[in-house]
């Protein structure tokens, strides 16, 4: 039995040995925000926050996050009460098929938590290992800038 804290709730999970965090989130906790894209940590579709840091759930053993706070896309915000990053992605049309969106949004949330006003270069660097086949990058980059403004208005940033 593993005790996992996911989206602020404690779960007891009877995970198979060797099960990845992604398997447990999707199969045991019915959280389908994180996606399977490659299983090798190469595409970013499975990204979650572990103690606020972006991490690839498909290559993390579920046992590796005991005593840590895991946040998934569902925990970030909901359809009716979206996190500013989620809202910015909607407003800037940063979704076509939407499959990469989980990873893009979670990576952005982690970035803005540590760098509230990132430079364009820092944003691109942070997203450099998240794949999007629809080529929505222009909209995604715009959404990150919008989210940064929403979360840290210019007046706050100057303080």
């Amino acid at each position: 039995m593993l005790r996992l804290t996911v989206n602020g709730r404690v779960h007891e999970v009877d995970a198979a040995p060797g099960a990845t965090l992604l398997d447990v989130l999707r199969n045991d906790l019915a959280l389908s925000g994180p996606k399977y894209g490659c299983g090798l940590g190469e595409c970013g579709a499975c990204t979650v926050l572990v103690d606020g840091v972006a991490a690839r759930a498909c290559v993390i053993p579920a046992g590796g996050v005991v005593d840590r706070e895991v946040t998934t896309l569902e925990g970030l915000g909901s359809r009716d009460a979206p996190h500013p990053v989620q809202q910015a992605f909607v407003d800037e049309q940063a979704a076509q098929c939407g499959y990469c969106l989980n990873g893009m949004i979670m990576t952005t949330a982690a970035l803005l938590a540590r760098r509230p006003r990132p430079s364009d270069r820092e944003v691109r660097e942070a997203l450099s290992h998240n794949l999007c086949r629809c080529g929505t990058h222009v909209e995604i980059l715009r959404a990150v800038r919008r989210a940064a403004r929403l979360m840290t208005p210019p007046s706050d940033a100057q303080r």
Partner: protein, 792 residues
């Protein structure tokens, strides 16, 4: 008196209706669906490139606890050939022809058990001689890929599969041939002052949909089959499944969950889907079959690789005289849509610019390589790569500015080309001048030429390319239409049931917008149902950039019928002539003053709850006024044609061969912008896909084996490489288009490789005719001097 002003949704920036659920993780893709009692399917693929199957022993796999079924071809005697060429069975029995070939399949309680079972299956192969070089496919003594008299389709027959074909051609590895001619090429060559003649080599790339292939098959208690499928062609799929399974099509229902990327990859039927059905039938349980990423790289289709020779000529003043194009298409082991890309390629060869004399020939051959499907742009990236490089070459030889060269030969509105395409609207000239002016093309081109020999290893250059693509559907099937059912409830909420599929491109939102525009209702008063063949009317599928045009016209047709009914009823109630009424913001208003006379909901209720008890429900089927090509490939196949010019600015590091895209300026004739946010996304996304084709992506296939089946070694473009983009819309207001719009889905990807090649040449003086422009290839080209690519 309440006055409601006229307003319009057309051209506005409207976020996709499905974006909030996607951004919050609520969207349920096929990977996220689980049905009660569901088993997991998995496929054993061939360990050999070309071999006879001597023996398969599945006894150990069957004995593994948790395994419910293990199937080989011997267990499914009823299976029938599938796909465009009808040249393969889902499960291969006697012979494998490529590494993706399906040899056996398992259904088990978990994915892990299914995979463990696959490892227990013993297959004994007898290797056969391997053919992986398409240029050797027609040599005497070449290994024969298909010897067993399956019907080889001619291009026309491929659309009516199942006809017996020429088995002789098959034995010689020819899968298809295409021949087209206009004018007199010899006469054209005789009047040419310059001629260029080059080979171009177009490589393998693959779709890399972020959501891997997957399906769930289930039979209900009455024996009806439901497929949760990512297909882009649900109604064609339904029919083909019925053929393959020997079922009544009426007992097959296809539900399309949201899809993690399509791009043409889901246009054909592939073996894994019928195999999931066989497993469901064998076990009596729903079976879910989802690929791994490696499997996706190995066993999903590729873009068509092409070896292409093009000869073009021009007069001293720049007027084009002739073009001769010959291609060798590597079909791979089976015939899917890739082999039919000449339909599109020859249009670019014959009609992107005015060319009086032209001939086109393709031979598509079988090899033991992966097989190519359709992929956004459908052969047009390949053809444009050759045509647009030669436009620059001819201009250079003639000492004419490349823009001038193109303007001199540009198609004009009203033109009917020798191939029979009628360009009722044509913004090519505006696309050329707009893209050139916005990018500073002339000045930058001249400056880069002058700086080619200057010191320094970072060279800048600009390149231009234009494209022509169908923008009003493509009449390939007996019908190119789309049906709509529209119902308005007692609260003036519309349910729009459309055959047109949403694959992420935003069709749901645009169709809703078009209906709202007609009915004067807000966007949140529309629900779009577009994913269930039991409910939605027929549509030919998401391909050929057709959905906004065809589905849009269909939706508008249904909405106009509803509007007529509503206004007729309102005229009676209000005692005002119909012509004086309009629908705005959920109300019936006087057109002249905007005075609100009654709410739409109230009118609808008064119709419903009356002696006549009438509901407002309409249907419409839109068939575009295009024509099938004749046997000579001539005909006006699309109701509208899309145009674009893109200018790419590159920086080439001559020390490393690294090509960086600095800026892309695009001018697109889109007819009319319907949803600005949506169309920007389509165009910018297509540019990124075209950039990957040009610069980073390369599916390495050696001896029939994919050597880089993962994202570590197959490089997609990511955020740091995204160039600055400046997109301009040319609104030619197409008379047949919905609100004047034309199709745009494929257009933006088409020019990129050609424009990048021209930009590299402008920067360095070296022309590369071989994709992709990886650092190694560019470095070799720059430093081994500019030897022209040789034909093998």
């Amino acid at each position: 008196m309440t006055v409601i002003e006229k307003s319009s949704l057309i051209g506005r920036r409207i976020a996709k209706l499905d974006a909030p659920e996607k951004a919050s993780g609520q969207t349920r893709y096929v990977h996220d669906l689980d049905l009660p009692g569901q088993l997991h399917g998995s496929i054993l693929r061939s360990a050999r490139v070309h071999a006879r199957i001597r023996r398969i022993d599945v006894s150990k796999a069957r004995a593994l606890p948790g395994v419910h079924a293990v199937l080989t071809a011997a267990d499914v005697p009823y299976q029938r050939p599938l796909g465009v060429g009808k040249d393969q069975l889902p499960l291969k029995g006697d012979k494998v022809r490529s590494r993706r070939d399906e040899v056996a399949a398992v259904a088990a309680e978990t994915v892990e058990i299914a995979e463990a079972a696959l490892a227990l299956i013993e297959v004994e192969y007898e290797d056969l001689p391997v053919l992986t070089d398409p240029s050797k496919a027609l040599e005497p003594g070449a290994p024969v890929i298909h010897g067993e008299n399956l019907a080889p389709p001619s291009p026309h027959d491929s659309l009516k599969p199942g006809e017996p074909g020429d088995a002789e051609a098959h034995r010689h590895n020819v899968a298809m041939t295409f021949d087209y001619a206009q004018g007199d090429v010899a006469a054209g060559e005789a009047e040419s002052d310059v001629v260029v003649d080059d080979w171009f080599r177009l490589h393998y790339v693959t779709h890399c949909c972020m959501g891997v292939s997957g399906v769930i098959a289930e039979f209900d208690r009455s024996g009806n089959l439901t497929l949760h499928s990512n297909t882009q062609v649900p109604f064609l799929h339904k029919r083909e499944f019925a053929e393959i399974l020997g079922m009544d099509p009426g007992r097959i229902r296809i539900i399309q969950p949201p899809i993690g990327g399509g791009f043409g990859s889901k246009l054909d039927i592939y073996p894994f889907e019928p195999i999931a059905v066989f497993l469901a039938k064998a076990t009596g349980r729903p079976v879910k079959l989802v690929f791994s990423r490696e499997e996706e790289f190995v066993a999903s289709p590729t873009r068509q690789p092409v070896l292409l020779r093009l000869r073009s000529g021009a007069k001293r003043d720049g007027t084009l005289t002739f073009r001769v194009c010959e291609t060798l298409h590597d079909n791979g082991a089976y015939t899917s849509w890739g082999a039919t890309t000449p339909f599109v390629m020859m249009q670019t060869i014959s009609s992107l610019y005015r060319v009086p004399h032209c001939s086109y020939h393709t031979t598509a051959v079988y090899t033991n390589n992966p097989y190519a499907g359709s992929f956004r742009g459908y052969g047009n990236l390949q053809a444009t790569f050759a045509v647009e490089q030669q436009m620059d070459e001819l201009a250079e030889k003639l000492g004419i500015d490349p823009l001038e060269m193109r303007l001199r030969n540009a198609q004009e509105p009203g033109e009917v080309t020798p191939q029979g395409m009628h360009f009722r609207t044509c913004g090519l000239r505006q696309c050329l001048t707009t893209a050139a002016e916005a990018s500073g093309y002339r000045e930058k081109h001249r400056a880069a030429l002058a700086a080619q020999k200057a010191p320094g290893h970072r060279k800048r250059g600009v390149g231009m390319a234009s494209m022509l693509h169908v923008g009003g559907g493509a009449k390939i099937y007996p019908s190119d239409g789309c049906g709509t059912i529209l119902k308005i409830d007692d609260f003036a909420h519309v349910t729009l049931m459309t055959g047109a599929s949403e694959i992420g491109q935003g069709s749901e939102t645009v169709l809703a917008q078009l209906v709202c525009e007609e009915l004067g209702i807000p966007l949140d008063a529309v629900t779009v149902v577009n994913n269930d063949t039991d409910i939605t009317p027929w549509d030919v599928g998401v391909h050929a950039s057709r959905t906004t045009f065809i589905g849009g016209n269909s939706a508008i047709g249904a909405a106009r019928k509803a509007k007529a009914k509503i206004l007729a009823a309102a005229a009676k109630v209000a005692g005002v002539a119909e012509a004086e009424l309009e629908l705005r913001a959920g109300h019936i208003v006087r057109a002249a003053s905007g005075e609100a006379l009654m709410s739409l909901a109230k009118l609808l209720r008064s119709l419903h709850f009356s002696d006549k008890a009438e509901l407002v429900m309409t249907t419409h089927y839109y068939e575009p006024p295009s024509r099938h090509q004749d046997k000579a490939f001539k005909g006006d196949v699309s109701a509208a044609y899309a145009w674009a010019t893109q200018v790419v600015e590159v920086e080439v590091d001559t020390d490393t061969g690294v090509v960086r895209l600095v800026k892309v300026t695009g001018a697109h004739d889109v007819g009319r912008v319907l949803n600005r946010l949506g169309i920007e996304g389509q165009i910018e996304g297509g540019i990124v896909m075209g950039q990957g084709y040009a610069v980073t992506e390369d599916l390495i296939v050696e001896d029939g084996v994919v050597r880089n089946p993962g994202f570590r070694d197959y490089k997609l473009v990511t955020a740091p490489e995204i160039p600055e983009m400046d997109i301009h819309f040319i609104e030619t207001m197409d008379g047949e288009g919905p609100q004047g719009a034309k199709g745009v889905g494929e257009a933006p990807a088409i020019c990129m490789a050609a424009a990048t090649a021209n930009a590299i040449c402008n920067a360095t003086g070296v022309r590369i005719r071989d994709l992709p422009f990886t650092p190694e290839k560019v470095y070799r080209a720059l430093h081994a001097a500019a030897a022209p690519a040789k034909a093998p």
